[in-house]
């Protein structure tokens, strides 16, 4: 199964509106221009204020009376960006944990066990006994 990033990233990279339309159909969403998008949708505004997640676009009128959410393309891209930044990190900006290895120089020498020891002169058991309630 493809991740969200695998689907969305190529769509946002170029002028592939057919693919965007297909994606939006999957999401049951409509793509409209910024000018056509609506700012006068009282029902959505009211539900948003009641805590129901909604996106209210800033300009224009809704081309679809049945739309729950009308969103312009640049806002859709911004929304995806927020998703990636917030939680879905394994998409566009995931970084490999072993990338650091390329910057660490291999060492051709037998150090033996090289085990991290206890520090000398430390007190472990009963470390809090210096504090009393007397």
């Amino acid at each position: 199964m493809e991740t969200l990033a695998e689907v969305v990233t190529p769509l946002l990279d170029g002028d592939r509106t057919d693919d965007i339309g297909q994606l939006l159909a999957e999401l049951e969403a409509s793509l409209v221009s910024l000018e056509a998008a609506n700012k006068g949708m009282p029902d959505i505004r009211k539900s948003a204020l009641a805590g129901i997640p909604s996106v209210i676009t800033r300009m224009g009128r809704s081309p679809d009376e049945n739309a729950t959410v009308v969103i312009a393309l640049h806002q859709l891209a911004g929304l995806f960006g927020q998703v990636f930044a917030g939680g879905e990190r394994k998409g566009v900006e995931r970084r490999a944990p072993d990338a650091i290895l390329a910057r660490l120089k291999p060492i051709d020498f037998d150090f033996g066990d090289l085990r991290i020891p206890r520090r000398t002169h430390e007190e472990t058991l009963g470390g809090r006994t210096a504090l009393t309630l007397d």
């Binding site: 020498f109 090289l114 991290i116 520090r119 058991l125 809090r128």
Partner: protein, 165 residues
């Protein structure tokens, strides 16, 4: 996706770049989709690694004759500092806070023995207990999975998630 806290030993073994299990573990979790920012260390790990290297360098110097180990120890020190810089840039070095300190206090009063392969056992140090406390408490309410070789004493500690490299 779990977040990991490398033990000081795993951190040092990665810095050795000698194909130790911890290094192979790092490559393995990349294939599992783990992000670099989900692999952290405790603030005491650099101190532990650099302290050991400094002690070994001092011992080599005290030996007098030309040391074969010295340039390799210097390279290891450079690797440690490079890894620390990388982790710090990603905010992946976890400092102590009062939650960790409280858990650390519990562990200070708990006997935790490290058993050597030959059967000898020794109480682990307070810095190691601080690491374990950091793993148990975690960050933002989510505990870390502590990456360390298998030891029976660790498996018995309440709240500690373990993964052996």
């Amino acid at each position: 996706m779990p977040r990991y806290l490398l033990s000081s030993q795993a951190f040092l073994d990665i810095c050795r770049r000698q194909g130790k299990p911890a290094e192979k573990w790092l490559e393995r979790v990349r294939r599992d989709g783990v992000d670099a920012r989900d692999v952290c260390i405790s603030a005491v790990a650099p101190m532990n690694a650099l302290g050991l290297i400094a002690a070994m360098i001092a011992r080599e110097r005290a030996g007098g004759a030309a040391s074969k180990a010295l340039p390799h120890l210097r390279r290891l020190e450079t690797n440690v500092r490079e890894f620390v810089r990388d982790l710090a840039e990603d905010d992946c070095i976890v400092p102590m806070d009062h939650h960790i300190a409280e858990q650390w206090g519990v562990l200070l009063d708990t006997e935790i023995a490290y058993v050597e392969p030959d059967g000898r056992s020794e109480e682990i140090g307070s810095a190691a207990k601080l690491e374990i406390a950091t793993a148990i408490v975690g960050r933002h309410g989510i505990p870390f999975t502590y990456v360390i070789e298998e030891q029976a004493a660790y498996a018995d500690l309440p709240g500690l998630l373990l993964e052996s490299p």
